[in-house]
Structure formats: C-alpha cells, structure tokens
C-alpha cells in the first residue's frame, strides 16, 4: 500500500476532515479490490486507483455541500515571489536563501522534509490536489488534468503556485536555522 498516504493526502483536498478522507480511502481500496477483475489496463493501475479515489472524494464533497474550486486559479494573478525581493531592474535584491545547506547532496534534512509536508497541507485545495497527484503520487500531467478536469495550462499554473508557495514557506525556516 505504498500509495495509501498519497491517496489520503489527495482525498483530504476534497473533503473536510481527516476521518472522512480516511473513509474515502477505505472505500477506494474496497472498490479497487471488487473492481480489479474489470480493470482493462487502458491507464496505469495507479491512475485507475486515483480515478476511483477522486470520484469518491468528489461525491463525498458534494454530499458535504462543499465547493471544490479546482477550476479556479486560486491567487493565481499575483506574482509568485514578493516583488520586494527584486530591485528595480528585476534582479534579486539579494540572493534568496537556499533550502538545502548542502546542495551537493540534494536531500533536505529530516526537519525540512517534515515541514515540507506541513507546507503542502496548508495549500489551497486545488494547488494541494495538483502537487499531491503530480509530486507525491507521481502521476503524469495529462492524467492529472483528466482526473481533476483541468486544462494543461491551469494544471501548470496550480503546480507552479504550489511549488513556489511551498518553497516560500520553507525559506524563513532555513534563514532562522542559519
């Protein structure tokens, strides 16, 4: 059940509470088990499982009368980085802090990894669902667009917003620790 955590994470983008997300994940696994014989292999198994999950999470969200604004581009019309970070020529006023103290290793410290997930959890629903499906679950962009009913362009904007917002959330921690 390598994907269980990612499934719960995605489900949580649609429904209000952890416990409802947990139920959606359980329902999904049961549906997968019952429907496995009917799986036709037209998509990857992983995509098929996430498809079931998103459908179930969506219906659950409708029952909860929760609006899921995935087609809207949340906060997408402002700049990714605070404009005061740049001088009048558009250059960095000072180099932004690196997240990784040891860039050669390309591995975040345990503490930063924990904070990374925390930052993803704080994202608006659409950004959270896209980054969870793309980066946590590792689904390709076309499949994420289909699952969430997004255009390629909107999916890219949400992913970009999500990653830059997560980076911005981690940067002060790095500065603090330095």
């Amino acid at each position: 059940m390598r994907h269980d955590g990612a499934l719960r994470f995605v489900a949580r983008s649609f429904v209000r509470t952890e416990s409802v997300a947990e139920e959606v994940v359980q329902d999904t696994w049961l549906a997968v088990i019952r429907g496995l014989h009917a799986f036709e292999g037209r998509s990857s198994l992983r995509t098929w499982i996430f498809h079931i999950l998103v459908n179930r999470a969506r219906s659950r969200a409708v029952r909860e009368a929760r609006t899921v604004p995935f087609s809207s581009l949340e906060d997408a019309d402002g700049p990714s980085v605070d404009p005061s970070a740049f001088d009048t020529d558009g250059r960095w006023a000072q180099s932004p802090p690196r997240l990784d103290g040891d860039p050669e290793r390309h591995l975040l410290s345990q503490e930063l990894r924990r904070r990374l997930i925390g930052a993803v959890e704080e994202l608006p629903e659409g950004q959270r669902a896209v980054i969870a499906l793309r980066d946590l679950a590792g689904l390709p962009s076309e499949e994420v667009c289909e699952l969430l009913g997004l255009s390629q362009g909107n999916q890219r904007v949400l992913l970009h917003r999500a990653r830059t917002r997560v980076r911005a959330a981690l940067a002060p921690i790095v500065v603090e620790d330095a």
Binding site: R98, R156, R163
Partner: protein
Amino acid sequence: MIRLRLRRRRSPNPLACREFVELVSDYLEGTLPPDVRARVDAHLAECDACTGYLEDVRMIATTLPTIELPETDPATHAALVAAFRDAQRG
C-alpha cells in the same frame, strides 16, 4: 495588484530574475517554447541566485515522492486483506 512589466528589449532580450521565477515550473516541465527556453538557459548561465532557486524548486519536486506518509492503520489493513480474499473466492 502589482503587474509584472516584462522588459522588452531587442536581441539578446535578456530575462530578469523576476521573470524567471514565473517560468521555473514550466522550465522544469519542459513546456516552454524553444525561444523562451533559450532565454532562460542564457539567464541561468550567468545568474547563480536563479540557478539556486531552480535547484530548490526541483528539489521540492524530487523530495516529495520520497517522503513517508502515515500508512493505513492495522485494523483497516486487516479488513481490506479480508475483503480481498473474499473477492478472490467470489
């Protein structure tokens, strides 16, 4: 709302850091048109700060899949295994 004013210059049309941060994900996704990608490459070649920023964003994308998320609780796991066995028999 602050509008980004793209600087229009004739060749070589250099990219500002402020523009680069809006293109970083599309650059990583490989979805930029070739001329824009070339401008980004030219900018990265001479800007350490943006190269670092790019590596940070890339690292977020590559670190997320390696993070262990909480697994299913044992009771749920057992129930699912039982359901799976039932389905096999049925």
